[in-house]
C-alpha cells in the first residue's frame, strides 16, 4: 500500500470525488426539507426542490406585474453591469499604479506607504461617505467596488513587477531600452496575465461589496432582490438567487482563466494538465 500522499485518483474517481460533496449537500438538504415539510406543509425555511424549481422558472419566465420585466434577468443585468464597471475601473487603476509603483523607485518611495495606509481603510466604513458624495444611484455602488478591491490589485501588481527577475530589466537596458520602453515592452506584457490572476482573486470581494451596496440602497439587482424578499422569508426566491450568483461568479472566473490561457500561452506553460 502506497503512502496516502502518493495515492492519486484516476480520471473517473477524480470526477466522482469532485461531485461527492455536492451530492452529500443536496441529500442533507432533501432530508431536512422533507422532515420539516412533513411536520408543517407551509414551512418556508427549507422549501422542497420542486418548489425551488417552480419559483426559479417563475423568476426566469414571468414578467413582473409592477415593471413588466423578467426580474431575474433585470437583476442580473443590473448587477453584472455594476460589477463589470467596478472591476474594470479597478483593474485599469491597478495596472497603471501597480506598474508605476513597482517599476519606478522614485514613485514607490513617494506613494507606496500612502497606498499601504489607504488599503487599510475598511471600505464598508466609507460607504456612507460614498452615498453622501455620489448619491444613492449607480455611481456609489460602482465606487464601493473600486474602493474595495483597487488597493489589493495595486499592491499585488506592484509586488509582481518587483518580482520580475532583475536580470531581465538589466538585459533590456543592455539592448538599449529607455525607461518607457522597458515598461512598454518588458514589464507590461509580463504583468497583464498576473493582473488577470489578481482580478480573479478579487472577484469574490467585488461580489461582497456589490451585494452589500445593493442591499442598502438600490431598486434592482441580485443583492437588492435577496434582501427585499427576506422580509417575507421567501427562501424559495433567496436560495435560487444565491445559487445563480454562485454560478455567475464561477463562470466569470472560468472565462478569465480561459482568456488568460488563450492570450498568454507562455505564462501557462508548466501548469499541471498541460
Amino acid at each position: 500500500m502506497k503512502r496516502l500522499i502518493n495515492q492519486r485518483p484516476g480520471p473517473v474517481s477524480t470526477a466522482a470525488l469532485a461531485l461527492l460533496p455536492f451530492v452529500v449537500l443536496a441529500l442533507v438538504y432533501l432530508v431536512a426539507s422533507d422532515a420539516r415539510l412533513a411536520e408543517n406543509p407551509n414551512d418556508k425555511l427549507l422549501p422542497s426542490f420542486s418548489t425551488l424549481a417552480e419559483s426559479f422558472v417563475r423568476l426566469t419566465s414571468e414578467p413582473s406585474q409592477r415593471t413588466g420585466e423578467i426580474l431575474l434577468w433585470q437583476d442580473t443585468g443590473a448587477s453584472l453591469r455594476r460589477l463589470a464597471q467596478g472591476v474594470g475601473i479597478s483593474a485599469a487603476i491597478g495596472l497603471v499604479l501597480g506598474v508605476a509603483l513597482g517599476a519606478i523607485p522614485l514613485i514607490r518611495s513617494g506613494f507606496a506607504p500612502f497606498v499601504a495606509v489607504l488599503s487599510l481603510i475598511p471600505p464598508m466604513a466609507v460607504l456612507p461617505v460614498l452615498f453622501i458624495v455620489f448619491g444613492l444611484g449607480e455611481v456609489s455602488k460602482v465606487v464601493l467596488i473600486v474602493v474595495g478591491i483597487t488597493p489589493f490589485i495595486v499592491r499585488d501588481l506592484q509586488q509582481r513587477v518587483q518580482e520580475l527577475p532583475r536580470e531581465l530589466i538589466i538585459k533590456a537596458q543592455t539592448l538599449g531600452a529607455n525607461s518607457w520602453q522597458i515598461v512598454l515592452r518588458v514589464i507590461l506584457p509580463q504583468v497583464v496575465p498576473r493582473l488577470i490572476d489578481a482580478v480573479r482573486l478579487s472577484l469574490g470581494t467585488a461580489w461582497l461589496f456589490l451585494i452589500s451596496a445593493e442591499a442598502i440602497a438600490a431598486t434592482e439587482g441580485l443583492g437588492y432582490r435577496i434582501f427585499l424578499v427576506r422580509r417575507y422569508l421567501a427562501m424559495d426566491v433567496i436560495l435560487p438567487y444565491v445559487v445563480w450568483i454562485t454560478i455567475l461568479a464561477y463562470l466569470t472566473d472560468f472565462l478569465l482563466k480561459q482568456i488568460s490561457r488563450r492570450a498568454f500561452p507562455w505564462y501557462h506553460t508548466g501548469e499541471p494538465g498541460r
Binding site: 531581465l168 538589466i170 538585459k171 543592455t174 538599449g176 518607457w180 515592452r185 507562455w266 506553460t269
Partner: protein, 267 residues
C-alpha cells in the same frame, strides 16, 4: 591603441566590507578574459561594475578611453546564468527586441519594411547560433542550452563593444557545455568581440580565454575577514588572438587543452 577597458585603482566597498581593492586592469580589444576565483571574491562585483549596475567606491573605469556610463547600456551585452531571455517573446521576438528598441524610442516596435529588414537580421543571427528552426517557439519550450544560445544571439545582434558572460554555462550538461564552448569561440572570432566571462570551472577558463584572471584576497586578517578585499592574484596570458593560433586551439580536442593544471593556490 586605446585599451577597450581600463580599471584605474578601483575599490569597491559596502560599508565596512571591502570587496575589491586596488584593482588595476587593462584589456585590449579582442581579448577573451576568463575570470575565476572562490565564491565571494568579487568576480560578480567586477561584472556588475562593468555593467554599470554598481559604481566604484574609489578609482575609475574607462571604456575606450571614456568614463564608463553608470548604468547598463547597449555597448555592453550580457548573458546571465538564468533569466537572460524574455519569457513573453518568441525566439524571433527576443532577438528582434533590441533592434526594435533602438529604432523606435516611443512604441518600441517596428512595422512594414523596417520590420522585415530587422527580421532578416535577427533570423541571420539566430541561424548563426543554430536556432533557425525554432523561430516561433517560446523560451520555456527550449532546452537550457538553446535558451543560452538565444541569449547570446539576443546580445550579439546589437554588436556590443563588450560581451559579459556571468557563468553562462554553469547550469548545462557537460556535452551541451562543450557545444556551447565551440559556439562562443566561433562567435568571438567572427564578431571581433571583447569578452569577460565569469566561471566556476577553471578548466573552462583555461580552454576558452586568451587571458585568465584569478581573483582572491590579497591580504587576510583572520580577526576581521571583511577588512581586506580581493584583487587579481594571477593574470595569465593563455592564448593569442591571432587566427592561426586560434584555429590550432580549436582544432585540438578539448581534452588536450584541459591538461593544463590549476594554479596551486586554488582551494
Amino acid at each position: 591603441m586605446t585599451p577597450r577597458i581600463r580599471f584605474e585603482n578601483v575599490w569597491m566597498t559596502y560599508g565596512d566590507q571591502v570587496v575589491l581593492e586596488r584593482l588595476n586592469l587593462t584589456v585590449a580589444p579582442g581579448e577573451f578574459c576568463t575570470i575565476v576565483g572562490a565564491s565571494g571574491c568579487g568576480k560578480t562585483t567586477l561584472l556588475r561594475l562593468l555593467l554599470g549596475e554598481e559604481t566604484p567606491s574609489r578609482g575609475r573605469i574607462l571604456l575606450d578611453g571614456e568614463p564608463l556610463p553608470a548604468e547598463p547600456g547597449p555597448d555592453r551585452g550580457i548573458v546571465f546564468q538564468r533569466y537572460s531571455v524574455f519569457p513573453h517573446l518568441s525566439v524571433l521576438g527576443n532577438v528582434l527586441l533590441g533592434l526594435e528598441l533602438r529604432a523606435s524610442p516611443v512604441t518600441g516596435r517596428l512595422f512594414g519594411s523596417a520590420r522585415r529588414n530587422a527580421q532578416d537580421e535577427a533570423v541571420a543571427m539566430l541561424e548563426a547560433v543554430g536556432l533557425g528552426q525554432a523561430l516561433r517557439k517560446y523560451p520555456t519550450q527550449l532546452s537550457g542550452g538553446m535558451q543560452q544560445r538565444l541569449a547570446l544571439a539576443q546580445s550579439l545582434v546589437m554588436h556590443p563593444r563588450i560581451l559579459l558572460l556571468d557563468e553562462p554555462f554553469g547550469a548545462l550538461d557537460p556535452g551541451i557545455r562543450r557545444d556551447m564552448h565551440e559556439l562562443v569561440l566561433r562567435l568571438w572570432r567572427e564578431n571581433n568581440l571583447t569578452v569577460f566571462m565569469v566561471t566556476h570551472d577553471i578548466r573552462e577558463g583555461f580552454y576558452l580565454g586568451t587571458r585568465l584572471l584569478v581573483f582572491d584576497k590579497l591580504r587576510y586578517d583572520p580577526d576581521a575577514p571583511q577588512a581586506y578585499g580581493a584583487g587579481i592574484t594571477y593574470d595569465l596570458p593563455i592564448g593569442q588572438a591571432d587566427p592561426e593560433t586560434l584555429a590550432e586551439v580549436l582544432g585540438r580536442p578539448p581534452a588536450a587543452s584541459r591538461k593544463t593544471s590549476a594554479p596551486s593556490h586554488q582551494r
